[in-house]
Structures are given as structure tokens and as C-alpha cells.
Symmetry: C2
Subunit: 426 residues, 2 copies
């Protein structure tokens, strides 16, 4: 059957097609599905492959070769061995790494919280300012936006292109408005679009001349080693690029092993200039004695080095690659050529971003829910939960099984068509 753009359908053809699709939809509803494509979290089989981590330290002798004793107090910024591993992962120097607890999200929140209460390297604490603004490339990660909401930071959406945020927009705000203190970025396999920032975009970030001395790029490299294919996307090292311009204090990098080892019990990290680390530590020293060093050593003993991490990530790719392909195959075969949807085909990360016909995302979401499939909430990928064009849906393919995904993806295509036809027919 040749595919025809929906916009070129006659009124009668559209109505006929809609009636057909409704019948199919009714069959799905009758099946009483209970599926969930909303959660960007690893499936149980991805957790099972990390079993060896449990016993990477199994007796007192296993901690004896590391000094000071990882079981005791101390080590506010992590053990040297774990800093070395994250330095290798992130392409920075070990002296530019701070190890945290089990979540980079908490490190991001705390970094913003410190800026609110204490300022940044001597700047006015943000709580004393009339207004603080962050730039938010959209669609983006809801928990980044949540941190801004929590502290009453005004969010300004920034358009995303195929190679990263629109840097003209970014430059306009950052270089002219001293209230703009930050920008949220997921530079590799971006959440949710899956794109990786181009070298030009990274260099444009590193060349920014911020109006605010305390402007920082929050560079959440959450998917730094999360390739689906042998040849992964390459991301230019922003700290090095910033340093070339004498602006190494302008960026905070975040990462974690949450989607390498265990989401609930991994190791988070930040990378930044030594001056930024010294500034952060001035407050951190009151907040903590040090994060869990046994878990750090456990990870070091298990993964050993970047090669060990990459070998482990290939096992993840083998498990979730087919899931991404299941969704993408459905989208390609069902929706391509109809001019009612656009989507990304990420080569890594955890999400696929689907833009349905503007004005129909909420309707698609509801049709899915009514048929028993939970999708990420509409608008979650936008500041204040507001998708102005009502077009974006985030697909999280990792948690369901391939069979479940096949069903859910086919239903998603069906709902996208139904909602589009409703819109077109008016």
C-alpha cells in the first residue's frame, strides 16, 4: 500500500480511514493491556548482568590494599581510584573530579542549592537576587526543570536543532542578561531526542561571554558511555574547549554509573575546574564527611578502567538495542511518509523523542492511556510541564520487554494516526 500524506487525503478518504483505525483501536482496548513506556530505567535483565559487583568486595582483605581505609570516615571528594576512573570516562584530569553519593541528580541539586544560599565563587547568593533565570533546551529532562522550579528559577526554553541547542538563541540570552545563571544540557544522546551536540556547538558553548560572572553550563553527560552501536557518537570535551578560551570555570560536568551498574546504588560524579571544586568544597565540608567509599572501591574493583566499563556497556547495548529497533521499526513502517509525525533514531541513551501532529500529543497520550499503555506525561519534557505546540511525546523503550514494546509501539502509531485524523477533519 502506497503511503499518502494525510494532508492530501480527501474528506471522505480520511473519514473512511478513521473508521477503520477506530475498529483496530477498539480491538486493542478490548485486550486490556497493562504496559508502561514512561520510565527511563533499566530492565531487570540489565541489572542482572552486574551481579559480580555485589562481591567485588567480600572480605576485610579486599579493602586492605587501599589507604586510607574506605570503611572509615573521610574522603569528601572520593577515593583516588574512583576519581581516576571517572576522569578516564569523562576525558578530564583526576584532580578535576569530585565523587558523590549514588546520584548525579543530587549533585546537580546541591550545586544549585549552594549557589542559591552562598553564591558562586563570591558572587551574590541567588536567594538575594530579584530574579534568576536558566536556559532550558527543549525538549529536555524534566528533573533538570524540577530543580529550577524548586528554587523559583525562571526557565527560558531554547530550541533544539539536530546538532544541539540553537546557539544564536543561547548566546543572545547568556551574553545580554546577567540574570541568566545557567543552562541545562544533556550533550550526548540527549534526553529525550537522543542527539549528540556537534563539535561546533560544543565550541560555541566554550566561546560564550556571559553577562553574569556566575553563569555556569550544567553539562549533564548522563549517557557518556551509553552507546547502542560499536561506533558511538563522539562528544568534544567541553572542559578542554573552555580551557582553551580561558573559561574553564564556566562549566560543571555531571555523570554517574546509574545506568552502568545499578540505578539505585551507583556512583555519581562531577567534573570541573579545580577552582570550581575548591569553591564547592567550602560548603560541602559542612554538609558531609564523605560519600560511600566502599561502593566506590566496589565499582573500581569490578570495572577496573574505561575498557571494563565499555565492555560492560556492550552487554547493555545487546539487551536494549533490539528494544530501540522495535520502536523505530514500528514508527518507520507505520508513520513514515504520512506527514503526521517526526522522530529521532538515537544511537545511544535511553529515549526516543516523537513529535506528533502539533496539537495532538495530549490526545495521543490519552488514547494510549485508555488502551492501557502509560507514556511519559505530556509536557514533561518542557519547563513548567508546558509543551506550547502540544507535539512532543517521550518514548522510554528500555524497561518493557521486546514483545510488550512491539504491541505498545504499534498502538502508539495507531493513536498518532487517529489523533492526526481528528485534527485534520476538524
Amino acid at each position: 500500500m502506497k503511503k499518502v500524506s494525510y494532508s492530501s487525503l480527501s474528506r471522505e478518504a480520511a473519514a473512511e480511514l478513521y473508521a477503520d483505525l477506530q475498529k483496530t483501536y477498539a480491538e486493542y482496548v478490548a485486550r486490556g493491556l497493562r504496559l508502561d513506556m514512561s520510565r527511563g530505567k533499566p530492565a531487570p535483565d540489565q541489572l542482572d548482568i552486574c551481579e559480580g559487583l555485589f562481591t567485588a568486595i567480600s572480605k576485610n582483605g579486599d579493602v586492605a590494599d587501599v589507604s586510607p581505609d574506605v570503611r572509615n570516615y573521610g574522603g569528601i571528594d572520593g577515593i583516588p581510584e574512583m576519581k581516576a576512573l571517572f576522569a578516564e570516562i569523562l576525558g578530564v584530569s583526576p584532580s578535576e573530579v569530585v565523587i558523590g553519593g549514588n546520584a548525579s541528580l543530587t549533585m546537580m541539586f546541591d550545586m544549585v542549592s549552594r549557589s542559591v544560599t552562598h553564591g558562586v565563587m563570591g558572587s551574590t547568593p541567588w536567594c538575594k537576587l530579584p530574579e534568576v533565570k536558566f536556559l532550558c533546551p527543549v525538549p529536555g529532562y524534566d528533573r533538570h526543570f524540577g530543580i529550577c522550579e524548586c528554587f523559583g528559577i525562571k526557565m527560558i526554553p531554547i530550541s533544539m536543532n539536530a546538532d544541539g541547542p540553537d546557539m544564536d538563541e543561547v548566546r543572545k540570552y547568556v551574553e545580554n542578561d546577567a540574570a541568566v545563571k545557567g543552562i541545562w544540557c544533556v550533550p550526548k544522546y540527549s534526553n529525550p531526542s537522543g542527539i549528540t551536540y556537534s563539535d561546533d556547538v560544543v565550541r560555541a558553548f566554550a566561546a560564550l561571554n556571559p553577562a553574569a560572572e556566575d553563569f555556569r553550563i550544567f553539562w549533564d553527560n548522563a549517557y557518556c558511555v551509553h552507546d547502542l552501536y560499536d561506533e558511538g557518537d563522539k562528544l568534544l570535551g567541553i572542559l578542554d574547549e573552555c580551557r582553551k578560551n580561558g573559561k574553564e570555570d564556566m562549566v560543571y560536568i555531571f555523570a554517574s554509573t546509574s545506568k552502568i551498574s545499578f540505578p539505585g546504588a551507583g556512583v555519581g560524579a562531577m567534573a570541573m575546574s579545580e577552582a570550581n571544586i575548591a569553591a564547592a568544597k567550602k560548603v560541602m565540608t559542612y554538609q558531609m564527611i564523605g560519600p560511600d567509599k566502599i561502593n566506590q572501591l566496589r565499582h573500581v574493583k569490578y570495572f577496573k578502567n574505561l575498557d571494563g566499563v565499555m565492555a560492560h556497556m556492550k552487554k547493555h547495548a545487546a539487551l536494549i538495542g533490539p528494544k530501540f529497533e522495535t520502536v523505530l521499526n514500528a514508527l518507520d513502517s507505520e508513520l513514515s511518509g504520512l506527514d503526521i509525525a517526526e522522530w529521532t533514531a538515537p544511537r545511544g541513551g535511553y529515549f526516543i523523542s516523537l513529535d506528533v501532529l502539533p496539537g495532538t500529543a495530549k490526545r495521543v497520550h490519552k488514547l494510549m492511556a485508555d488502551a492501557g499503555v502509560v507514556m511519559t506525561g505530556c509536557g514533561a519534557t518542557f519547563p513548567y510541564g508546558n509543551d506550547p505546540k502540544d507535539t512532543n511525546l517521550r518514548i522510554a523503550p528500555t524497561y518493557p520487554t521486546v514483545d510488550e514494546l512491539k504491541t505498545a509501539s504499534e498502538l502508539l502509531c495507531l493513536c498518532t494516526k487517529l489523533a492526526a485524523l481528528e485534527k485534520i477533519m476538524g
Copy 2:
């Protein structure tokens, strides 16, 4: 040799004694000691007894009986099993417990930080107030005072009696000054005096009528199960006492397994009214997805319940009890009857508090340092590091060996005498 109060010594007798003691001191100096009585941390043998914790979870099957999966995301306030264990330890209901990461200190800091940025249950954020004050029973815990310093909270010292803080002083401030938002307490085996608050003191806390609606008692029950003897001190349950007065929102309780399992990799917890928990979670939900649940389950599987914890604490007591006794024996045999020092004989906890002749603590500290023994910094047990009478020294007996402690304690008595004689002779 009969002991004579130093104040009754003739000038000649004092000078002669001083000369004798100086000779002995010179012998200590000549030994080139390298000892440390400054750190309130467990010794390696205390960490060795917890070896079984490493393998309490050793394979995927070990996490299979707990749902949801502890390896994955989620569980912002901890797993039910860990809440139940801390509820038993603290004598509260599991619904009144929030589990954190590896440190109760971080939970205290974050609680203050949230109050600074967001207020308490709808009160004005403390960063918007002209002044915020905390009461600090002295001597106390330096890291509590550090949190206040970090946020510019004014600290007011409160006298400590043998049964807890002077509640008349506490009441005067709390009930008349709405800028007083908190008080730091270590109610059992207090840091550093080792005393436990009496039932009357606990009831007096629970009966406070604060001028500030957002006044909270920061009840750091760090040594809740840290008895040195079979018959431990008993601490009345403050949350229950507060509830009897309809004031269950007035207290935050903190505790951790840092000195039960591993200081670097234990589990922290807070206990408080469900209303306080709901208020804290409003901000926590932006800061974290959830603390390390695998480590929680590891602790639950290893300790099982309060009986398991108490059996384990007996092993700690067997290791550190003799250390406390070594110090106390030296103080008793060398300093009693001389009227130049007073000290506590704690039945648990991690410290012994020594009050030397007023005006000589810094001198004693320096004499010790010059002979190669590090003591906790003078003034560390007071707000702003200022011991107004220059009298208090904190002894941390757990980390050194018994032999090291014997030497260090004898030297401490010697230095206390030397400094006292210098003072008396003028």
C-alpha cells in the same frame, strides 16, 4: 602519697613539683611520640567485626525477595525493611522514619538548608529573615555548629548540667525570641560529655512553647545503641513526649549506623512526624530519586532487627570499653583530689570530656602537641571555636590502641598538672 589540692600548695612546693614534672615531660618529649586522640572514629578492629556485611547480598537472588527491586530507581524515603529497623532502634513508628544516604550529618545539613531556602511548613524561608538563631548546649558537637556557621545562623551557647541542657535557659530563649529556630542536642552519651538527658529534661523539651512556629529541636541521637556496659543509659522517647503535648512537629530525630556498621558506608535516618516528613519531601523530591537501597537491604539482612544490632554493639563495647577505662583510670589515679580538673565517666558514646583548670586548656593542648600527641582542637566543642573559659578538652579514646592510650593519658595528666601549676604560680 597523699593527694593535696594544688591550690593549697606553698609557692616552694609548687615550684619543686613543677620542676619534677618538667623532667618527666622532657622524657616524654624525647620519646618522639606520634599519637592521636582527636578523632571520634572507630578503630580498624571495630570495622573488622562487620566483615559479614560485605556479603549480606552476594547474588541477584538475594535481592529477589524484596519489591520493588532495590537495584533500580525509586524509594525516596528508603525501603520498608530499613524503616522498620530504624523505627525499632529509635522507638518510633516506621511511618515516622526517612532513610537517607550514608550520613545523618548530611540529613541535618539538608534539613537546615531546606529551611533556609524554603522555610518550614510554609514559614518564611530563613534566608529572607534578618536573623536566625540556634541554641547550642556546650560543650557540643563541632559539626552541628559548623552547619550554623555555614548558613550564618547566630549561635547562642547554653550551659550543660549533669542531666542535660539548662532548661531554664533554653525556655527563656525559645519562648521569648521568635528568631530562635532550633537547638542542637546529642541526648544520649552526649558529644563530648557522655551524659544522657534525664526524663525531666526530655519532658521539659517536649513542653516548650516556642515563640517561632518553625522552631525545631534537632535531636541527634547518634549514640542511641552505643552502650559500653550491659545496662545502658535509658533515654525517654522525645517524639512520643512531644505528641502527648500535641507538639509532635517540634522535633527532628537523626541517627545512623556509622558507628554500628561502617562510618564511610553506613545508613543514615531521620525520624519525625508524618507532617514534617511530608514537608521535607516536597523539596527532597527535586533533590533525589532515592538513596542507596542495596546498602539498606545489606544492613537489614546482616543485622535483622534491634536484637541483632545490640548483639553487634556488645562486640564494639568489648573493643572500646577497655580504652575508655584506660583513660579514666589515668585521670582518676593522677588527677583526682588535685582540684585542677573535672571529667565525665560516660557509660557509652565516643568521647570523654575533660575540664582542666580554667585558662589552661590551650596550654595543655600545646604541651600535648609538642610531645607528639594530637588532641581535638581547643574550642572545637564551642560555637565559633570559642571556649570562653579555655577549659574544655575532648578526648576521643576509640581510635588509638590501649597501649597508645595509656601513654597519651598519662601524658595528658602530666600536661594538665604542668599547665595548672603555671597558672597557679602566675
